[in-house]
Symmetry: C2
Subunit: 223 residues, 2 copies
DNA sequence: GACCGGCTGTTCAATATTGAATAGTTCGGC
DNA sequence: GCCGAACTATTCAATATTGAACAGCCGGTC
């Protein structure tokens, strides 16, 4: 049961090992409605979460009321893991369910205990952290290098893969321009502008639902 | 010897545990001159490094020849740790010594072994990864929210702390405008412009060497 | 069907940012 | 002291981005 596959070196998925699948001392399972909050920025933090089903959005609020979306996390990801090491743990972001979701709540002490006692779990967790690290770093590099047009293209392409493995042209569940803007660090009007541009160029389809073609890659690759 | 202090919840420093301080099977110590490369983006990766002394710069090269600096790492940090988990490990960034440095090279296999067999080390490493994660995430949020003026101010303030603990007004060793520009994702001319602005406002001193006053905080906090 | 709320398309002036060019400065070696 | 290399200051037109406003569109509900 130590299945630990890394598709394209990025997205990490594994069958939750036995110790994570079961509820018990210090672990409970919760079902979330769409839009429901798991924790909010500033809350004191004493539990880690593991996403079993659904998609979770992580957002940060700036001093001036702006919102930024730092990550969309799907099944197989952890959530709020920073509290494991911190002395006086505070949530640095707000976690909200984007779709109906099932999460496993693991109390901090329990998490520490399992990390100590279960070698396999510890190994998996380190692997997870490394993958997460790389992903955030890629996002940072993207911000440092690319214009908002390219960042939007990249975000859409990543969303299209989100949860899938094979299909190169995927329908994206439902994501507002506002959220997209928060993800790539720009304004909604800019997102609207580029979305229409992409549509006119035939890179995406975009009536009720959103469909991303692989030709959108051109935006990123060109020049 | 499990000292593991977290100053201000951000910077992580610990006395390298015994297993890291010694060279031996799969571990060697190297001394680096200023400017010397440790590895380059694209190299195949089969070792992790641990910085014992000095400062290391991590940079990424974009397709269009731009360079971005993702991190400055000091003593107590790891380097190139992504290769531990990856299937076909490639260095994603270039690591260069910014000052004369001493690093410990740990072969990947050895790193995996130690992580398996030494609970304490594994614990320390997880803590390290979590701290690193938070820091990168903060950098990302900074990019998403702030103008280049604020990003520069933040970068300078962080540099001023870099390695220190108490002193609120510190002299910064030596850092070119080019590097600063690469760190915050803007152009050198912009950095020059803001540096002079900060100087005129009395937030920094800036003749031969660079001195950051705590009043620079105003730039970040205001509005 | 009328109303509403939430999303989207579009416009526009005010700013911010780029990128390249030019000139000045500092520093170390010779 | 002279030279060159590397860094810094400054300018400027061309672009990109913001922020706010306004109108249209859709889906649901009463």
């Amino acid at each position: 049961m130590k299945t630990l596959s890394t598709s394209r070196g990025k997205k990490l998925v594994f069958q939750p090992a036995a110790f994570l699948a079961k509820t018990g001392l210090g672990r409970t399972i919760a079902d979330l409605k769409k839009g429901q909050a798991i924790f909010s920025q500033g809350d004191s933090a004493n539990a880690v979460f593991y996403i079993q089903k659904g998609k979770i959005k992580l957002t940060v609020l700036s001093k001036r009321g702006k919102e930024a979306t730092i990550a969309l996390l799907g099944a197989g990801n952890f959530l709020g893991e920073e509290c494991i090491a911190a002395i006086q743990p505070q949530r640095m972001a707000t976690a909200t369910a984007l779709t109906p979701s099932t999460i496993l709540r693991i109390e901090r002490k329990e998490m520490v205990r399992v990390l100590h006692e279960e070698k396999l779990f510890s190994e998996i967790f380190v692997t997870y952290l490394l993958a997460r690290n790389t992903r955030i770093q890629e996002d940072l590099v993207d911000q440092l290098f690319n214009s908002s047009e390219k960042r939007l293209a990249r975000a859409l392409l990543l969303l299209a893969q989100f949860g899938k493995d094979g299909a190169p042209e995927t329908v994206i569940p439902k994501i507002g321009q506002e959220t997209l803007a928060e993800m790539i660090g720009t304004t909604r009007s800019r997102v609207s502008f580029f979305m229409n541009r992409f549509r006119k160029l035939g890179f995406i389809e975009y009536n009720g639902k959103l469909k991303v073609h692989s030709s959108l890659l051109n935006v990123i690759l060109h020049d």
